[in-house]
């Protein structure tokens, strides 16, 4: 059948956080090359439901590459073989007919499995809550031109803010390190005048929370940057290090 694939899927099945998981093998046939990877799993789940089996649990929300929910480690890479995409943006045309595809959840002690391919990423939320904000007194809205911001700085802050917190950086890292995520969240504020005021304090608080959550250290392999669906740069990690080390020596 032209444009249709028959595939063998090896999918991680795990009842809950407290039980051990294992791989189950499924055959799917007649998969359109125009389908997204998630739609292919939908097809499998429809069949599993009809057969009275438990469908494969996986996270998904927007299905347009901006929510960052679809945490699937496909054939040894976060979000599969293509760069700069989430799983919903991965299409079946990226696979060959007859291929065996291995699907695993993100694996990190800081991302415990909830069920099957669903992991708990609330550790990211707690890193944000530790300092990923600016303290302001709310009052009347200021004039937009009160704080001049250079275009380059605005662009760089925006590029860091493009992070969707999907956790692909942690999944790709051999140390399950969250440095790319944390540094993007530090940078998006540190680059702007509103965030600069608390930059050092923020870096210390967020790095401390990151360590507390059980993420690893950085080996500078660059795997996170290569696998990031939003192209977050390693320059952010260098900026975080600068903020953190200068805070170490200058904070009171």
């Amino acid at each position: 059948m032209e444009g249709h694939l028959n595939l063998t899927l090896k999918i991680w099945r795990q009842k809950n956080a407290n039980t051990a998981g294992k791989f189950e093998t499924y055959q799917v046939s007649g998969i359109s090359t125009d389908m997204s990877f998630l739609e292919m799993i939908d097809v499998l789940n429809n069949r599993l439901i009809q057969e009275g089996d438990d469908p494969v649990a996986f996270d998904h929300d927007c299905r347009e590459g901006i929510c960052g929910m679809c945490s699937m480690y496909i054939n040894g890479r976060p979000h599969g073989p293509n760069r700069g995409v989430t799983t919903c943006q991965l299409h079946m045309r990226s696979f060959q007919d007859g291929e065996t595809i291995t699907v695993e959840p993100w694996r990190a002690s800081a991302f415990p499995v909830i069920k099957d391919l669903v992991v708990n990423r609330s550790s990211f939320d707690r890193i944000i809550a530790a300092g990923g904000f600016i303290s302001v007194n709310t009052g009347n809205a200021q004039d937009a031109n009160n704080l001049p911001i250079a275009k380059d700085d605005a662009d760089e802050a925006f590029a860091a803010a493009a992070c969707i917190g999907c956790g692909a950086c942690v999944a790709a890292c051999k140390n399950a390190s969250a440095m790319l995520f944390t540094s993007a969240k530090i940078s998006q504020l540190a680059l702007l005048p509103q965030g600069k005021a608390e930059a050092s304090k923020r870096a210390q608080a967020m790095v401390a929370q990151m360590d507390e959550e059980g993420f690893g250290a950085c080996s500078n392999t660059g795997a996170c940057e290569a696998e990031c669906p939003k192209g977050i740069s390693l320059e952010n990690i260098a900026r975080m290090n600068r903020e953190y080390f200068s805070a170490t020596f200058s904070s009171k």
């Binding site: 040894g76 073989p81 790095v207 080996s219």
Partner: protein
Amino acid sequence: MAWLAKSLNSSLGKKLLMAITGLFLISFLVIHCGLNATIFLNDGGVSFNEGAEFMGTNPIIRTMEIVLFGGLLLHIFDGLRLWLDNKKKRPVAYAVVDGAANSKWYSRSMGLLGTLLLLFLIIHLKHFWYFSRLTDGLESRTLFAEMQSVFTNPWVVIVYVLGCISLGYHLLHGFQSAFQTLGWNHPKYTPTIKMIGAIYAIVISAVFAAMPIAFYFNLIH
């Protein structure tokens, strides 16, 4: 000083220690390599022996030797600590990992390369440091003559060349990685740092590897 200990025990602090000690060892290798390269002058080891004599007797150098061992031990123990810590962060391993798709093998193997280097270093220190500092061997033969005799054994030559290859890959990642850890990532400087790091790693490891090979094939007189 609790603030410093707290910072150096954080994930970033451990890397800072790794970067600073790494750059210190990188600066040592320049001196070590430069001095040893005088054997290629083919002056019967006269320049080399003079250099060795200076390094072995100058009080400032001898003090720095202690600092060097301190830096080396810190680098080793901090590396070991990072390896042990990082290992715990992924208790369930992936069934399939396509590491080559997103990073260089040697950047993912710094611990392994470092361990190979440590094994090599033990052999290397036994050959030359132990001989020149802890025995009275230098009274009867020069360090140059000792090098000549050690490198007549083909197995020793092979071990040294393998050690130099490990060193080359360790430096290829380590040099630029140290700058990134120190926060020195800038579009103006980073390409230059990476280029200098690559040239440094290749030149240092090639010149070191050439020494046992040249002795073995009697190219040094």
